[in-house]
């Protein structure tokens, strides 16, 4: 059976003043429908580049991405993105930000249906109480919730999250992770999420993709996370499997990938 999302032989080069810079080299990854995958790696290793190629914002130099038997060539709402810095339009309210996406994706839906769908998605991320506020009136976590609601409202085939909780404090982040797991149990989306938080990766993922350092970064190791769901961060703290996977990821990041020179194949 063909995988739902197939990233095959993806390499990308960026032109620079001193010749082309090879950021990614031969990235191969198959993701099944409903799978939650995290990409982890040091800063600048090309995690975001992978995500942007799947989103269609960048074009791979060689190789390609196939989603649901169709090649990805340009950005589209079937691969909605949750950006790191929320990227809400500051002149629109939370409601209007989601509404813009809904109106664009479901053109010609009756007004009442659009309204209830927008409200449904905001309720999903627990933002009903503040839906008529502008982003400047919302806290960082609330803005990110609206960003997630906007991405979910498009009912994407794959949800792409680029360090969505990176800018949040630890408590808010834990709260957001719980919300995300709760939404995931309900909707069972296919998700690719970028993080550099090991605990977050183990807590949320079905698989953790560890990336080597750039340039010419690629996938170094893959860890399967077979912990039962629903997961609870407090209970997992003493779980042997959890700690084993956590140690595996930490070892990869801090022993095998500390110095970029070790990466030269």
């Amino acid at each position: 059976m063909n995988p739902y999302l197939d990233i095959s032989q993806v390499s990308i080069e960026f032109p620079t003043a001193s010749g082309p810079f090879k950021a990614l080299s031969d990235v191969n990854l198959q993701i099944g429908k409903g799978e939650f995958v995290t990409l982890i790696g040091h800063s600048g290793c090309g995690k975001s580049t992978v995500l942007n190629i799947v989103a269609g914002l960048y074009q791979a130099t060689t190789g390609g991405v196939i989603l649901d038997s169709k090649e990805v060539n340009e950005p589209g709402p079937d691969r909605s993105v949750v950006f790191q810095n929320h990227s809400l339009l500051p002149w629109l309210t939370a409601y209007e930000n989601v509404e813009l996406a809904v109106k664009q994706v479901y053109k010609g839906r009756p007004k009442q249906e659009v309204k209830s769908w927008v409200e449904h998605n905001l309720a999903l991320v627990h933002m009903s109480h503040a839906m008529h506020k502008r982003p400047s009136e919302l806290s960082g976590g609330m803005k990110q919730r609206v960003g997630i609601a906007r991405a979910l409202s498009m009912e994407p085939k794959v949800l792409l999250m680029d360090e969505p909780f990176g800018a949040l404090d630890a408590l808010t982040r834990a709260h957001m992770q719980d919300s995300l797991m709760e939404i995931q149990t309900r909707l069972n989306n296919t998700v690719i999420m970028i993080t550099h938080d090991v605990d977050e990766a183990v807590l949320l993922s079905d698989r953790i993709i560890m990336m080597t350092n750039g340039p010419a970064a690629t996938i170094g190791e893959i860890a399967e996370v077979n912990l039962p769901r629903p997961r609870n961060r407090v209970e997992l703290a003493g779980n042997e499997d959890y700690n084993h996977i956590r140690a595996q990821v930490l070892k990869f990041l801090y022993e095998r990938q500390t110095k970029p020179t070790e990466n030269v194949a």
Partner: protein, 340 residues
């Protein structure tokens, strides 16, 4: 039950009254005189010093038109210009009354007679000229903005269009209105030919000159504003696959409004300065023509009258800028932004 409602209302009012009281207590009364002094006192003192220095210097300068007028003589001309305006309006009213009476008489004698209704053709007062100037500058400015904003948006969105237009923009930007005026005058005379023109040629010439000189700051600022939109917002637009029109309305315009308005305000300021020069030479019956006529007139009052015009031009320029600021506040999405 009634008493409960009543007491609830009373309680509500009590808390409100209390909080108001507290607000007043929060004010530091001892600071009030200082605030009043710095907001009103300091500017007032500065103005008084300016007037004294002006009066002192003016009394020492003797020109071909007599002594240079000081603040008192200029104020005297303000009063006389107002009086002339009132007198002219009274004459106009009297003219129409006479015309009506005459026409009524003619009609009474012969109901089929054709009565003539003539417009009043008295001389334009200072205040009529102010109005003409404002209408002219606004016409030029609005047309300039209608060209500059779309062109600026196109330049901001497309590097190709920017590369094509930038040399032209940079070349035309520094050209003086006095250089444009002869060309505009001759072209308007050649092209704008009509037996019953809707607008005076002098008006069209002045407005076009204003337009040519004041479109550049708006155009350049709009370009910069549009090309510096947050890249993430553009990515949002790409992921949503917004059409170009929605992209411009929902993303490009709102995010470039601050820069655009900075440009519009500079443009209107330049337009107002250009207008006075253009009116002088094109003889558009506005403030520029007023200054020119007084200069040619050369009476003992002329200098004081020109100075009245100078202050009027300055104050109107200031008010036009305030108007733009208010407009910017009205359309800006970020109500907390410091606009000055």
């Amino acid at each position: 039950m009634n008493t409960r409602v009543l007491s609830a209302i009373e309680g509500f009012n009590m808390t409100r009254a209390f909080s108001t009281l507290q607000k007043y207590q929060d004010i530091n009364w001892s600071k009030i005189p200082g605030i009043i002094f710095s907001k009103l006192g300091i500017p007032a003192i500065a103005i008084i010093i300016f007037l004294l220095v002006w009066g002192g210097i003016a009394s020492r300068i003797h020109t071909s038109l007599g002594q240079l007028p000081g603040p008192i003589q200029v104020w005297g001309q303000v009063i006389s210009l107002v009086a002339e305006h009132k007198a002219e309006r009274a004459k106009e009213a009297a003219f129409f009354v006479r015309q009506e009476v005459r026409n009524a008489k003619t009609l009474a004698a012969n109901p089929d007679a054709k009565v003539k209704i003539r417009p009043y053709t008295g001389k334009k007062t200072f205040f009529d000229q102010i109005l003409t100037s404002i209408i002219t500058v606004m016409t030029g400015f609005i047309f300039a903005s209608l060209i500059a904003i779309p062109v600026g948006i196109m330049c901001g969105l497309s590097t190709t269009i920017y590369a094509a237009l930038n040399p032209l923009i940079q070349t035309f930007k520094p050209v003086s209105p006095l250089a444009w005026l002869p060309i505009v005058t001759i072209i308007v005379s050649a092209v704008y030919v009509s037996n019953d023109p809707m607008f005076e040629k002098s008006f069209v010439t002045s407005a076009i000159t204003v337009m040519l000189c004041c479109m550049w700051p708006t155009m350049i600022n709009t370009t910069v504003g549009v090309s510096s939109i947050d890249k993430d917002l553009i990515n949002v637009s790409r992921v949503l696959r917004l059409g170009w029109f929605t992209h411009i309305i929902k993303i490009v315009l709102p995010s470039s409004i601050p820069m655009m308005f900075a440009g519009l305000r500079v443009s209107l300021g330049i337009g107002w300065m250009v207008l006075i020069a253009a009116e002088m030479l094109a003889q558009n019956p506005g403030l520029g023509k007023f200054v020119w006529d007084e200069f040619q007139n050369g009476s003992s009052n002329s200098l004081a009258r020109i100075m009245v015009a100078v202050f009027t031009i300055g104050i109107i320029g200031f008010l036009l800028d305030l108007l733009m600021l208010m407009l910017q506040r009205a359309v800006s999405w970020d109500k907390n932004a410091q606009l000055r």
